[in-house]
C-alpha cells in the first residue's frame, strides 16, 4: 500500500468532532483548514489568540484591513457578535478552560500525549507563541499531522525526542490514515481511513497502538 499525504482528510475528520456553538482555537497552517470542513448546521466560534473571537473568513481582495489579522498575521474578518480583547483576556479565555478545543500542528507526538511543535534545537526555533497555553487550557487538544514526515518516519512516537510544548495534554491525534485517542500510555486506534487498513497502521507506526474494540473504517474522500 502506498501512502499519499492528504491534509484535507485530517481537517475533515477533526471538523466532524465539533458541536454547534463550540468555541475553538485553530493553530496556523494545517489546523486552519479544519474551518473549511465544518458540517452543515454547525457554527464554530473561532477564537484568535491575538485578541478576538468570532473570526471570519479571509476578506475579498481589496477589502483587507491591516488592523484585523489572525495569529499568523494574515488579514481576516470578524463575524457579527464577535468581540476584541487584550492578550491577558485572550489567554484567560484559553487557560481558564473556556475553549472547547484546540487543534495544533505537530513536529512529534507520543503515546503519553506529549507534543513537541515549537523547537528543533540549533535548527529551527520559532518559539511556542500561544501553543503551551492552548494545550494546557483547551478542554480537548487535537494534534493534527500527516502520518509520516518527508523521510517516511512515523510522526507518532513512543517518546518525543524534541523539547516538549506540552506534557501529557494531547487527547486525540488525527492523521491522514486514522484517528487515535491517547489513553493509558498508548494510541488507541478508533478509526482507519479508507484505503488504509489496521495492519498497515500497525506495521508502519513506531508506537504502541491498541485497536479499539469498536474500531471502524471511515471513508473521508
Amino acid at each position: 500500500m502506498e501512502y499519499v499525504a492528504n491534509k484535507e482528510t485530517i481537517a475533515k475528520r477533526i471538523a466532524r468532532f465539533f458541536k454547534n456553538g463550540d468555541v475553538v482555537n485553530l493553530g496556523i497552517g494545517l489546523p486552519t483548514l479544519v474551518g473549511n470542513y465544518v458540517p452543515e448546521g454547525v457554527e464554530l466560534i473561532l477564537q484568535s489568540e491575538n485578541g478576538f473571537m468570532g473570526l471570519g473568513p479571509a476578506p475579498e481582495a481589496g477589502e483587507e484591513d491591516p488592523m484585523l489579522v489572525n495569529a499568523g498575521g494574515m488579514p481576516v474578518t470578524i463575524k457579527a457578535g464577535g468581540c476584541y480583547f487584550d492578550s491577558a483576556m485572550s489567554f484567560a479565555i484559553i487557560r481558564g478552560g473556556h475553549i472547547a478545543a484546540t487543534v495544533l500542528g505537530v513536529l512529534e507526538v507520543d503515546q503519553e500525549g506529549n507534543l513537541a511543535n515549537y523547537k528543533i534545537p540549533g535548527k529551527m526555533v520559532p518559539g511556542m507563541g500561544g501553543a503551551m497555553d492552548l494545550t494546557v487550557g483547551a478542554k480537548t487538544v487535537f494534534a493534527a499531522t500527516q502520518h509520516f514526515d518527508a523521510k517516511g518516519n512515523s510522526k507518532l512516537l513512543r517518546r518525543c525526542k524534541l523539547p516538549l510544548t506540552a506534557a501529557a495534554q494531547v487527547d486525540y491525534v488525527v492523521t491522514d490514515v486514522g484517528l487515535f485517542q491517547v489513553k493509558d500510555g498508548a494510541f488507541v486506534l478508533k478509526e482507519y481511513f479508507k484505503p488504509y487498513t489496521v495492519d498497515y497502521i500497525l506495521e508502519t507506526t513506531d508506537a504502541d497502538i491498541v485497536v479499539d474494540k469498536d474500531c471502524k473504517e471511515v471513508d473521508l474522500a
Binding site: D86, G127, M128
Partner: protein
C-alpha cells in the same frame, strides 16, 4: 482632568536610555507604534531589552519588515523577551550565533507577567509550561493538590503603545486586533508613551469604552497620518 504632555516621536524616544527594558505593543506588527519605532531606530539607542510578543516579520528576499524588525536588524537589543520569533529569521540568526539573548516565554504567561507587574503583584501561578523546558529553574507551587509554575512579574522602563484614539489626559481606545499587548504594557512601565492615530479633547471618549485609563499614560505622540 490634567493633560499629559504631547510630544513628537523624536522627543519621546529621548526618554529611552541605553540598557533600558522597553515594552513594545503589537502582534506581528499589528498594533505596533510605527512612528516611535522609526524614531528609536533613527536615534540609535542600543543595548536595550525588548519585551514584545514577537520580533515581527522580516522577509530576507524582499527586505520587507514590520513591527520591531527594523530595530532587530540594527541589533539594538541585547536581550529579547518574546513568545515567538518564527517570522523573523534575523533574530533567529542572532540567537543561534549568540549575538542576542532570546528568552522565549509562552504567550499567555508573557501577558500575565506584564499584567501582574502593572497590578502590583509579585507574579502569577500558571499550569502553562509544567513538564517542559519552561519549567527549568522555576519554583513549582502546589495549591489544593494542583501544581503550578511560579512566574515572576515582568516590569519595564518604557512602554511604546499604539492606540486608535487617546484623549489629552491619556485615556486610550484601541483598533481591532491591534489591541493585543498594548493595554497590558501600558500598566507595567514607569514611562508610557502612547502613539495615537488620533488625539481628541478630554471628554470626547465615552468613559464606558475607555480601555486604558489615563492614570497609566505619561506622554502622548500623534501617530503617522
Amino acid at each position: 482632568m490634567v493633560k499629559k504632555p504631547i510630544v513628537t516621536a523624536d522627543e519621546a524616544v529621548k526618554l529611552i536610555k541605553e540598557g533600558d527594558a522597553v515594552m513594545v505593543g503589537g502582534f506581528l506588527g499589528c498594533g505596533s507604534p510605527t512612528g516611535l519605532i522609526a524614531a528609536l531606530e533613527k536615534r540609535g539607542t542600543g543595548k536595550l531589552t525588548l519585551i514584545c510578543n514577537d520580533c515581527a516579520m522580516y522577509n530576507p528576499k524582499t527586505g520587507d519588515m514590520n513591527g520591531v524588525a527594523p530595530l532587530v536588524a540594527k541589533k539594538r537589543f541585547s536581550v529579547a523577551v518574546v513568545s515567538h520569533i518564527g517570522t523573523n529569521p534575523e533574530i533567529q540568526r542572532q540567537m543561534n550565533e549568540g549575538e542576542t539573548d532570546v528568552r522565549l516565554v509562552p504567550q499567555g504567561t508573557l501577558a500575565e507577567r506584564i499584567r501582574a507587574a502593572g497590578a502590583g503583584l509579585g507574579g502569577v501561578l500558571t499550569p502553562t509550561g509544567l513538564g517542559t523546558e519552561v519549567q527549568d529553574g522555576k519554583k513549582v507551587v502546589e495549591v489544593d493538590g494542583v501544581k503550578f509554575l511560579l512566574e515572576k512579574a515582568l516590569k519595564g522602563d518604557v512602554a511604546l503603545i499604539r492606540a486608535k484614539k487617546a484623549d489629552k489626559s491619556g485615556n486610550c481606545v484601541y483598533d481591532k486586533s491591534g489591541r493585543n499587548f498594548n493595554p497590558l504594557m501600558a500598566m507595567a512601565c514607569d514611562t508610557v508613551i502612547v502613539e495615537a492615530d488620533e488625539i481628541v479633547e478630554i471628554g470626547e471618549l465615552d468613559p464606558e469604552v475607555v480601555v486604558t485609563p489615563s492614570v497609566f499614560v505619561t506622554h502622548i505622540v500623534q501617530g503617522r497620518k
